[in-house]
Symmetry: none
Subunit: 210 residues, 4 copies
DNA sequence: AATGAATGAGCGTTCATTCAT
DNA sequence: CATGAATGAACGCTCATTCAT
């Protein structure tokens, strides 16, 4: 399947709507209207509403593994630095693609679409496997002192904390009286806080000594 | 509004279906069939599908605040012990009511229903305020050494990590080859791991010294 | 499934439309409008458009076999008289239910719906088996002299001739200048002609001697 | 309108599809795919789907009248022999172009397209008029003893019997246990049987004495 | 002449809700 | 109180056709 600019445009609009209203709560008509294309084009371009979200997932997940691999395989970076880069990359990606990550989380909960579940499983597992390599590397080098590390629990801490922060931004703003902060500024503050917090969790959990 | 046994029965079935198929993916007919009541009864009892989920949220959140308050106000427990109890209570509650928490998370992401958003905001804020009290108490007593603690970030670590663990159980099973474990046994393992992990995050973040 | 008056009413209107426009050429909206019921009632009553035509076939074929059986098993009627009665009954039925027979012929040609094909096969074969009995009886009694009778070919002559006459009524009217005849009167003339003609085919083919 | 090889190719494919799925059940896309031409070409070549079937009918009916005329006007053949030739020609044509005849019968039943109805009426009437001539010739020569012959009823017997045999081939196979016969062999058997049977109907109806 | 992209209309179906009893 | 029947609105999708090139 060839992805054109129009495909990308429609996918972006669909992504926004899915994030706002959920998959079931978004109609093909909504997407067509938002993307300013004829209703029939959605089926014409993507086959069906279901295929559309599958392609959306495929598109968004493409490159993620490569990006992590690039970090993991970089010989000139020390293990914990690798993890720090991966954490920052993840935070950056989630904040830049908040819509997609909301959709992903929703799909993860509902587990209806087989294709998407398969995508996500493969993605998540390869993700974990790569991180696992870094952790093993760090342990071999004697950088990490803990020897009963649960990689997936650690990753879940990262993804859970980061994603819930994004999802709960409104509570955060209200609780910490950041009301006056602009959306972007709040994001900047949160990203910094998250970066420090998550890295700290990694450090403690791995037993990393500077 | 008077809640009868029939109401409760319908709400339970609705909760299961919402967790399995999402709010939009669940039809009133589905709920009526699952609860073995006449289709028209749903509207008759709850007014509408939307009112039903609102009542469901109200019901499920009732008592939660009280339970935390009971812990916080218990003079005979030390601050960090209070937090440990709250962590374990939360883990227990999420694992016991996985369906409801999935629905809640989904609603949190979609932010469509005003009433539910108001519920959740109030709930989350009072939750955070109570924890904040415990943290202040701990700092006054000199138990916690850190003085720039972000309560909400800490709580988000807890809720995010715990909920994502529940949502990602399948990946966990596959990655850690727990395939053979029964659902219940896996839950037991995960609860123990989470308890230790989250408490550790609290300890480190607060600067708690035993 | 319980068939109510409303079901019957809808089936009648659907039958007319199917006969006029074909199955694919008839929309559920057409049927709803013709039967003066809400569009959604069609699905509510019959499940789907396809189920509707299946029920229509089942309804219309019900009783046919019994009617033939009654004739075949009647001990007080001679073999050829039985065939004469069956011929007249068939002609009468086709002329009285022209719409249904048109729909049936169309379905027979397109052979799309599995359920309907099964109905028709069963119906046709039991029909032929019963007639075969009468022919064997006539031969045993020495009434029919021919001994290489192809029952199905004989029946196909009857059904083909009668149905094509109904379908080609307009040509008949034009060719024979019966233009001025009322629909009903033309039918009466045609039924008489067909009765004599088809019985004659039977007589000759079977070698029946008065 | 100029008919090119491409036109003919498309018409052939369309004919097959119409016979299999009906006119409404066949999409222009289906035809384009089957004929391996661009979708837009169908409208471009034929104007519309409706015009396409009209041209298909015109094409297929062309020559039919001429073929019958050739037989009727052949001075060296006796009247009943002429009818025998026409019967065999008809059987042969129907069996060779089963697809087209199914489509024709379907159209005859639905009577939607004015142009097609006009084609068929003209065709059928001229057909009957020619046969009528032969019958009159036979009566003048004293070959046919019956004087109240209904030409159209006789023709309808032929067309009805032959076409219904084609349409009901499956029943025929099942009832007569010809299951093992190849499609082509069954056709050969049926054509022989039909030829004898229909000629016999003609003989008896006309009062033909050898 | 030929075609990939696009379109308005309409399809069968399902929905949450309401009605009549 | 309770319910089977009914309904208007909207759903995802497909259609024959036309447009722009």
């Amino acid at each position: 399947m060839i992805i054109t600019d129009k495909h990308i445009h429609i996918l972006q609009k669909a992504e926004e709507l899915f994030a706002q209203n959920g998959y079931e709560g978004t109609t093909v008509r909504d997407i067509a209207t938002a993307a300013d294309v004829n209703l029939a084009m959605i089926s014409y371009y993507f086959g069906s509403k279901e295929k559309l979200i599958e392609i959306l997932f495929k598109e968004r997940m493409e490159g993620t593994k490569l990006r992590i691999e690039a970090v993991v395989n970089n010989q000139s970076i020390l293990p914990f630095q690798k993890l720090e880069i991966i954490v920052d990359q993840y935070i950056e990606r989630v904040f830049n693609s908040q819509n997609f990550f909301k959709v992903m989380l929703a799909q993860q909960m509902l587990q209806k679409n087989e294709v998407i579940i398969r995508f996500m499983t493969q993605y998540k597992l390869s993700y974990a496997t790569l991180i696992e390599e870094v952790i093993q590397e760090g342990r071999r080098l004697g950088h990490f002192s803990k020897d009963d590390i649960d990689t997936l629990l650690l990753l879940t801490s990262m993804t859970g904390t980061v994603m819930h922060t994004v999802v709960s931004k409104d509570y955060y703003r209200e609780f910490n009286k950041h009301n006056k902060l602009e959306e972007q500024d709040l994001d900047t503050v949160l990203k910094q806080k998250l970066s420090r917090h998550v890295k700290n969790i990694f450090k403690v959990t791995l037993g990393y000594e500077q």
